[in-house]
Subunit: 351 residues, 2 copies
């Protein structure tokens, strides 16, 4: 239960998620086995958590329970949750980051509530107008970073550029690629197509002063192809794209199952190929790429999927660890200062 | 080569598409075998077409070549194509619909050019502000109708309602379902979420005066689940959703191939299950659900995928035939008149 100064401290909401706290504890059990240099502040109900920790000394070794029996309901509206935040496991988790005690927060709780509360408690990073929810998207080439996938409804050109800056720094942090390519999601690769804000953002990114590796417009099919390492869009479009992809992967998965059980011969075939099919299932399992991150607040907030199982929660913890020990915040600050030094400054005159 | 008055006349652009005129002629060959009561005005280069018709009397029997050697390039910008439209196979195809000689136009040509030229030549249906490109989307329950998938960049509430009206009538025409459910694509099922235009459209559809079967908001994953028979959205979001789904299906398809060739055992398994896997390939093959339709112009314009093969073109022809013989236009007119009778009328005062 001791904290080492060399260990990265993660603040975890043990009460968030459809299967909490079970999925959280079992996820932590996987993480404990990996012996990463981390320490967990576990916000939740002592009565529900301590038994597990007693039974699993390896988990107890990396965890410290911060008791509360108040949790944000999965179906609470963001405004309600914000109003009644005091003392909830989600709010306490964020307060640990705000105080500097922990570097990263991880929750599988109510997304809307988490975004609202994170922005309220941690405040926005200087120079960022809107935080963005960011997804890691499996692609033909590995994975790409896609943002915003739902923190906001709209985004103007300046906000899209800020998303590009944060997405680039995040891709560096999670993939180790030092010069990630950036694409702006649009409906045509021609310069004249698309919405005004996207075209204006392209002009700013093309100017090249910010130092990002801008690669141009990309279309919906480019996301899964992995055409660029980062895909930037507004939260409405990004959320619909993400959920459409999830729905499509599920549909095709269902078709595979039906096909492989449609005849005796195909059942035998499926049995022989079962190792490979299991590998396939892993590749399209959302739990294997779990962990959206809310970028643009003072601190790093990982959002695990509400329905994630232990595997999914462990994935989110690993991402949290990697981002936490990265130069993400410094990278964003450096790019932002280049961006804003290029922006026209509005002089305020004191009359 | 004789036209029967009982046959539905389709006007076909033989020069449009990446594999034209080959894919068009081979698609027509499939259609000819089905002995549907249709007649085709085939706009294209006599030198390229007549040899095939001579060699295939069954195709010749349903076709009539309308010669032109001018084609719209697949990479022409819509504005350029519109300017240089005169005498092109695409323009002549549309003129045949405008004159009333044919009921439906079918082209696998340049999408942007086809949309611009269709609107210019055929004009908008009375009461429709913007035509919408409409896709048939494979779902867990069969298929759904999704619009707009790219004819426009934005849509206000009234245009979304018009899309709902056209989508409902189109679903009736192609699926035979007499009371299709309608969903508005949004980022949350809560009433308070989403963009202003979508929420306003929901209010109009909920009022129920138009007589549509409105089922509420749907999210991206609902499209492939087939939650509603019709999904309504703006062209920017719809195009990105459609292409994202195509990219995801392709990605998962690629993963399946890799998995099933990764070991000897899985190769044997794949061989045994090959019948079922072929069936699966058919289910996710875009050629099997080919044929976007441009709704909202005076006439019906089917857009086959530019890369469609003969199977794909035949699918588009079948859809064209079904819509052409349906009550689509009458249904839209009936709903529109109910919609507009409910709209506040701005009184013009002559002073």
């Amino acid at each position: 239960m001791q904290m080492s100064s060399e260990r990265l401290v993660l603040s975890v909401d043990a009460m968030g998620g459809d299967h909490a706290p079970g999925s959280v504890l079992e996820g932590l059990q996987q993480i404990a086995k990996e012996k990463l240099p981390l320490h967990v502040l576990l916000h939740g109900d002592d009565a529900q958590l301590s038994g597990f920790l007693k039974a699993h000394p390896d988990v107890a070794e990396i965890c410290e329970i911060r008791h509360t029996d108040l949790a944000v309901a999965m179906d609470a509206k963001p405004g309600q949750a914000l109003k009644a935040r005091k003392g909830t496991s989600m709010c306490n988790m964020l307060e640990s980051v705000k105080s500097g005690e922990a570097r990263v927060a991880v929750s599988a709780g109510n997304t809307g509530a988490l975004m609202a509360m994170s922005t309220f408690v941690l405040k926005r990073m200087p120079g960022i107008h809107r935080p963005a929810l960011t997804a890691i998207w499996p692609t033909a080439k590995g994975s790409s970073v896609v943002l915003d996938v739902g923190a906001n409804i709209e985004a103007d050109a300046e906000q899209l550029v800020e998303f590009a800056i944060m997405g680039s720094a995040y891709a560096k942090a999670v993939t180790g690629n030092n010069n990630p390519t950036i694409g702006l999601l649009n409906i045509g690769s021609e310069e004249l197509k698309g919405v005004e804000s996207v075209r204006q953002a392209a002009d700013i990114l093309k100017a090249g002063n910010i130092g990002l590796n801008y690669a141009g417009f990309v279309e919906g099919n480019d996301i899964s192809m992995g055409t660029t390492d980062v895909v930037v869009t507004d939260g409405y479009t990004g959320n619909i794209a993400l959920k459409t992809a999830e729905g499509t992967a599920k549909l095709v998965g269902g078709f595979i199952r039906e096909s492989l059980t449609s005849s005796l011969l195909s059942k035998i075939g499926a049995l022989l190929a079962s190792g490979s099919l299991k590998q396939l299932k892993n590749r399209i399992d959302p739990n294997k790429a779990n962990g959206g991150v809310l970028l643009g607040v003072n601190g790093i907030v990982l959002k695990s999927h509400g329905g994630a199982n232990a595997d999914g929660f462990a994935t989110a913890m690993r991402i949290a660890f990697n981002v936490g020990k990265s130069q993400f915040i410094e990278d964003v600050e450096a790019s932002l200062s280049k961006f804003h030094s290029e922006q026209p400054v509005i002089q305020e005159t004191i009359s």
